[in-house]
């Protein structure tokens, strides 16, 4: 927010400063959070491109059956995996609520649980790949299936790396109840929720519809 002052005599005085202008106060959002939000916006576009390909193959090419015969998707396993990933959103939220209240043990517990749930999701997905019976080379269906779920899996992996860093820092005594003191958990938390939401959309689109 720019500012200026006038003294009693009526002479204007403007506060000049060098460099980029100060952030408008109305944004009231720290740079780290704004950064992850802008990153997520770009990620949404990336996923959008993959979904566009998926719907092109499914709607425009329009094969007689979907998935094409004889392929089948393990909906039940993916459903359980979805529940695991969604529950990890609750644990990361618990971690952040804990540190907001100054509960460091809750923070550590929440982070570790989130990491474990994320790792379990990734393990089950890799296990699913092994037992699917088709590869990315099998028809366009195989390509887009592995591309979409693989893209998401890569994001889960990145999320796990971020959670690992946050967990290590938590066990080393970092982070505090004030908002600016736990950005290192807040930012990965937002990213993790984004990963969860994307999976919900991938699951519903690829496995259910």
């Amino acid at each position: 927010m720019e500012s200026a002052t006038v003294a009693l005599g009526g002479h204007a005085h403007e506060d000049h400063h060098h460099g980029p202008p100060e952030a408008n106060q109305s944004s009231r959002i720290d740079r780290q959070t704004l950064g992850i939000l802008l990153f997520i916006v770009s990620e949404v576009m990336l996923f959008g491109a993959f979904f566009a390909s998926y719907f092109f193959l499914r709607v425009v090419v329009h094969p007689p059956t979907w998935p094409p015969h004889p392929y089948e998707l393990p909906v039940a396993v993916a459903g359980v995996n979805t529940a695991i990933l969604v529950s990890s959103s609750f644990t990361i939220h618990y971690a952040l609520e804990s540190i907001r209240r100054g509960n460091r043990n809750g923070l550590k517990l929440g982070l570790v649980l989130t990491w474990l749930l994320g790792a379990t999701f990734l393990f089950i997905q890799l296990n699913e790949y092994v037992h699917l019976g088709f590869s990315a080379r099998d028809l366009a269906f195989g390509s887009i299936f592995y591309a979409l779920t693989g893209l998401h899996g890569a994001h889960v992996f990145v999320g796990l790396v971020l959670l690992s860093i946050a967990s290590i820092r938590a066990f080393r005594g970092h982070f505090g109840p004030k908002a600016e003191d736990h950005l290192g958990v807040e930012v990965p938390g937002i990213y993790w929720h984004f990963v969860d939401v994307m999976w919900l959309i991938v699951f519903v689109t690829v496995y259910i519809l």
Binding site: M1, E2, S3, A4, T5, V6, A7, L8, G9, G10, H11, A12, E14, N24, Q25, S26, S27, R28, I29, T33, L37, V86, S89, I92, H93, L96, V185, E186, G189, I190, H193, F194, D196, V197, L200, I201, F203, V204, I208, L209
Partner: protein, 215 residues
């Protein structure tokens, strides 16, 4: 505009809402046909986008946290843009500060020239224009013998007021607008919303610049 996603807690709420929506899509698809699930999913996405847009506009009433000075000074927050140098407004400020130790903060919202400029964050010109108006009004207020300072605020006047009140413990607010036939602020209910959200005396001053220029 407000960012509807400012923290992890906001993101978590979205996860819960999208999760519930996904369950309803799954249930509908399994109970009926996939095409119905697709239609329902599209409807939910449209509804969600609408809710996010409404939230981003900040149209829901929110309570503004006020700070109090308590040092005997009477603080007046003046919110105006094109009418900031109007004689009627200056008279109102002079009247309110008569016989008081008065401190004035003039906030001029930086109004983007178009919707496209707003979305592209192309606000440099708008901020410069608002700053120029604000400085001229500060000089005019200074000539009344009053102490004033100014800030360029958010494009949304209500958000600009909210921002200002976080750093300026105002005792009252003066909002200056064009006459009702030409005022976009009045059209958008800026004064009504301020009265709804802020528990401070709010005076509305109408400045008709065409009349003032003609005189």
């Amino acid at each position: 505009m407000h960012n509807p996603l400012r923290s992890e807690a906001d993101a978590f709420r979205w996860v819960v809402v999208i999760g519930v929506g996904s369950v309803s899509v799954i249930a509908l698809t399994l109970l009926t046909r996939p095409v119905i699930g697709v239609v329902w999913m599209a409807a939910l996405i449209g509804f969600g986008a609408g809710v996010a847009y409404r939230g981003a506009r900040g149209s829901l009433p929110r309570t503004v946290e006020l700070t109090r000075g308590g040092d005997g000074k009477h603080r007046v927050l003046v919110v105006a843009n094109e009418t900031v140098g109007g004689e009627v407004l200056l008279d109102e400020i002079r009247r309110r500060c008569q016989g008081r130790r008065c401190e004035i903060l003039v906030v001029t919202p930086a109004l983007p020239t178009s919707r496209a400029s707003h979305w592209a964050s192309d606000v440099d010109e708008a901020m410069e224009l608002a700053r120029q108006r604000m400085e001229l009004s500060l000089i005019a207020i200074g000539e009344l013998g009053l102490k004033a300072r100014g800030e360029v605020g958010d494009a949304d006047p209500n958000v600009a007021m909210e921002d200002a009140l976080r750093v300026f413990p105002a005792d009252e607010i003066v909002i200056s607008t064009h006459p009702p036939s030409r005022s976009r602020w009045l059209e958008h209910g800026v004064v009504d919303r301020a009265r709804e959200q802020i528990e401070l005396p709010i005076a509305h001053v109408v400045v008709d610049l065409t009349v003032e220029r003609a005189v």
